[in-house]
């Protein structure tokens, strides 16, 4: 099947899960990553059960946050 990962088309085996894709793509610090499949956000707790299909468009996004808490 052909899927699009972060804007790049890739050939992958049928039945690939989002969790396997994270490994395949060497996604760094996956604990900070959320993903969207066809614009729908998927919680990391659902990566294992999310099976990708031909034509899917996947984006990985890193959580970005912080703030002045604790500074003086």
């Amino acid at each position: 099947m052909t899927i699009t990962v972060s804007g790049n088309k890739k050939e992958k085996n049928d039945g690939l899960t989002l969790a396997q894709l994270v490994i395949d793509e060497n996604v760094e610090t996956p604990q900070y990553v959320t993903a969207s499949v066809n614009e729908e956000f998927v919680s990391s707790s659902d990566f294992e059960k999310t099976v990708l299909k031909d034509g899917d468009n996947i984006e990985f996004l890193y959580f970005m946050g912080g703030g002045s808490y604790g500074i003086y």
């Binding site: 912080g66 703030g67 002045s68 500074i71």
Partner: protein, 136 residues
């Protein structure tokens, strides 16, 4: 070194002032030339925490910004946020949540609203190093 044009700086400042008393945040996109980063576009995003001492980027807006960068041929360079009541330096929380040592983390202090201070940092673990920022 990271370079930003004055109009982009003013966009960040205006947005941060408009969001007071809460922290404001966003992304910076641009190009890398050798050792230097050139900011080409700044993104003003929603702080979904609505807090004066914490921020989280809205993931939907973050995704839209990343796609916009891709369409414009630029790349994510880092993010920015404001400290409404404290200096322009990374807090422990900023360091804890800075997972990308190649990113630029800009902090705009509005502690003295008549003299805002924007600085850029590289953060690796608990170490934060000031990155030369040129606004022109």
């Amino acid at each position: 070194m990271i370079k930003m044009n004055r109009s982009d700086y003013e966009k960040i400042l205006a947005h941060a002032l408009s969001e007071l008393p809460n922290e404001a945040c966003g992304l910076i996109g641009g190009i890398i030339e050798g050792e230097n980063k050139i900011v080409k576009k700044v993104y003003l995003l929603t702080n979904i925490d609505k807090s004066n001492e914490h921020f989280s980027l809205d993931p939907k807006e973050q995704l839209a910004a990343v796609k916009d960068m891709r369409s414009e041929g630029i790349m994510p360079l880092g993010n920015w946020h404001s400290h409404p009541e404290s200096p322009s330096r990374p807090s422990e929380e900023d360091k804890r949540l800075a997972y990308d040592s190649s990113a630029s983390y800009m902090i705009l202090s509005l502690m003295d609203k008549s003299a805002p201070v924007l600085k850029s940092f590289k953060i690796h673990g608990s170490e934060a190093v000031t990155e030369e920022l040129i606004i022109e």
